[in-house]
């Protein structure tokens, strides 16, 4: 074996422990899930047929897609404004802004979900406040429904939307914006024709990230949905732990994995995901 070949083998050797760990505890269970979906309760594609025949399964799929899409759009809009504000701030202010964006990430998702419950429930701060100023006569149904889920999920997702968009915005040469103004573009035209298109790779990356996260969300929908609006993850838990229908749960899990891979495949053709998720270059 050539010395170079031996060197390469050494590097593979370094990767080996992590590779084995991932195979044993991550890849193997996923393959097992895939297997269960076509073997339980009896071998065949019976579980997958339910995707086309069972109304309740379809409802879960569409609810998940709808909530994921709405969450993505709202998180992107809020995140874009935030990222723009941060990108335009001075270096010192930028650090404070970033800290403010990141702090929620460090708080447990459970704590945040319960915080939203206390804010949004019938006797919560929001409803009490609105009643007190006479804006409403009846408490609004703000939680234990789709609205509550979306509020909680958007709150969770905004930092994930901000970060890729901010990194794309930071790569925009400020002179290019000045050039647009100098060549006759108003502020608005310079934004629409130059800044927005140049920040688009960041927007797409953020969209992919947030949408994929949203599809598999569990705790927030479980707590803020109050068991009435079921998203895929909670439905899987229901099937496997409560109804002991392993095959059906595994089928939905597989559908989720496939949906995520499909999303990634489509968008990796549009933008360089490697670069946007921070792989340098």
């Amino acid at each position: 074996m050539s010395p170079r070949g031996r060197g390469a083998l050494g590097w593979w050797g370094l990767i080996l422990p992590a590779f084995l760990l991932l195979t044993a505890f991550y890849l193997a269970p996923i393959i097992q899930v895939l297997a269960i979906s076509v073997t339980e309760p009896r071998p065949g594609f019976g579980n997958y047929e339910r995707l086309f025949t069972s109304e309740s399964v379809q409802r879960v799929v569409f609810t998940t897609l709808r909530i994921g899409a709405v969450t993505t759009v709202i998180a992107l809009l809020l995140g874009y404004v935030l990222a723009y504000r941060i990108a335009m701030a001075g270096p010192k202010a930028q650090r404070w802004w970033l800290l403010a964006v990141l702090v929620p990430l460090w708080i447990s998702v459970l704590v945040r979900a319960f915080a939203w419950v206390t804010l949004l429930r019938r006797q919560g701060l929001v409803n009490e406040g609105l009643l007190a100023i006479g804006a409403i006569d009846e408490p609004l149904p703000l939680v234990w429904n789709e609205f509550g889920i979306i509020v909680g999920m958007v709150h969770y997702m905004v930092p994930y939307a901000v970060l890729p968009m901010l990194s794309a915005m930071r790569e925009i040469d400020p002179r290019v914006l000045a050039a647009a103004r100098g060549l006759g573009a108003s502020r608005g035209a310079a934004f629409l024709r130059v800044f927005l298109p140049l920040s688009m790779p960041g927007v797409i990356a953020a969209a992919v990230l947030v949408f994929i996260f949203s599809l598999g969300f569990y705790i927030t929908p479980a707590l803020l949905g109050g068991g009435k609006t079921l998203m895929a993850a909670e439905w899987i838990k229901l099937q496997i732990l409560d109804l002991i229908r392993w095959g059906l749960g595994a089928m939905m899990a597989t559908v989720l994995v496939v949906a995520i891979l499909a999303t990634l495949a489509v968008f990796s053709r549009l933008v360089n995901l490697r670069r946007l998720f921070g792989a340098g270059g």
């Binding site: 290019v176 000045a178 100098g182 060549l183 006759g184 108003s186």
Partner: protein, 370 residues
């Protein structure tokens, strides 16, 4: 764009403009007239305020004092997009997501020009900079020189009142820079517009400009044609920044043809006006090595302290007992002797070679307006 020269240029007038950032004065009370069709260069070291002046003209920086007039109309408060100035930015600032043609079409698009008119103008502008065949490329697929020409086409396509250039050639290597200097000069003649250029490169300023405005520490030090500035620098800074110079200090007396400067036992005949303590600027290339017996207005004896061969000539440092170290530039093909360290030499220079200059005072603004 192909309209005859002289009718298309516009005149700019800066009246006592200044810019402060808190305590820091970036530009102090600068007044300058730029004539229609003129190529004016703002020249100075970094931090001299030249870019700040350009940015105030462009409208990106608001002056703290003074007024800016275009053909007599006050434009001080006008935002950049309404000034109708073409601008070539440092590093070109081409739009990376647009093709060359889209870049050049941008100023026309934001002005709402129709498609057919736009296409014709874009084609004409690209032909003007000889990039007609590159219309569909992205800026990243072009060389630095080509990007620079796209930036020029984009800045000229909408028939701007003025063309502002912020260090347009600084990102290019030396050889390309010389080439594009000539192109830029030819382009200026062709389009007949008023060009205002910013640079720290004195060679670029000398070769391109009709007039140069020299800045130092936020002050406009001297304005004039390249020849005038080189031959009659007003201050030590101008003499030193534009070309190289020896400086000789002494006591000056006016005489019949100029001044006589005394320094110890030595006397130097020079041009200009001065009385009392004075400073002379003496260009290294205006000094000759005299053969035995030859005379000159001024003759100084000394020994070669150091020398180097520069291709076009020899650079010598001659230590003279009378005037201290003197730098001399000799054309290699005319050198009377082969230089050697310690070699005794006689230096000669005419009265015209030495000119009295003022010491720099922070607030001195001689020759502010042309």
């Amino acid at each position: 764009m192909s309209a005859p020269a002289a009718t298309t240029g516009h005149a700019l007038s800066l009246q006592g403009i200044g810019k402060r950032y808190g305590e820091f004065v970036a530009v102090r009370d600068a007044s300058l007239e730029v004539a229609s069709g003129e190529f004016l260069t703002l020249l100075g070291p970094s931090g001299s305020g030249k870019t700040t002046i350009l940015m105030m003209v462009a409208g990106f920086v608001e002056p703290s004092a003074g007024r800016i007039l275009l053909d007599g109309r006050d434009i001080t408060a006008l935002p950049p997009e309404r000034r109708e100035f073409g601008m070539v930015f440092q590093g070109y600032a081409l739009f990376p997501h647009m093709t060359v043609a889209e870049n050049v079409a941008f100023p026309l698009r934001v002005r709402g020009l129709g498609r057919s008119k736009r296409d014709a103008k874009v084609r004409a502008a690209l032909d003007l900079v000889q990039l007609g065949t590159f219309a569909d490329r992205k800026p990243s697929q072009l060389s630095g020189g080509q990007q620079q020409r796209v930036a020029l086409a984009r800045a000229l396509v909408f028939d701007p009142a003025l063309l502002l250039l912020d260090e347009p050639l600084s990102a290019l290597d030396k050889k390309l820079r010389a080439e594009l200097q000539e192109e830029l000069k030819a382009l200026h003649r062709r389009v007949g517009r008023t060009f205002i250029n910013v640079t720290h490169d004195q060679e670029e300023a000398l070769s391109l400009s009709d007039r140069i405005a020299i800045l130092n520490h936020g002050n406009l030090v001297q304005v004039g044609s390249p020849e005038a500035l080189y031959e009659r620098p007003a201050t030590r800074f101008v003499a030193d920044f534009l070309g190289k110079s020896n400086f000789i200090e002494g006591n000056a007396e006016p005489d019949a043809a100029g001044i006589t400067l005394r320094r110890g036992a030595a006397r130097v005949l020079a041009r200009g006006e001065a009385r009392g303590r004075a400073l002379l600027s003496l260009r290294p290339e205006k000094i000759a090595l005299l053969p035995d017996g030859a005379g000159e207005d001024n003759v100084v004896e000394g020994r070669i302290f150091a020398w180097s061969y520069l291709g076009t000539g020899y650079g010598l440092v001659v230590e003279t007992p009378d005037l201290g170290p003197i730098r001399v530039h000799l054309p290699a093909w005319r050198a009377a002797v082969a230089p050697a360290e310690g070699l005794p030499v006689r230096l000669g220079f005419s009265r015209d070679a030495a000119v009295a200059v003022a010491e720099d005072r922070p607030a001195a603004i001689p020759g502010g307006a042309a």
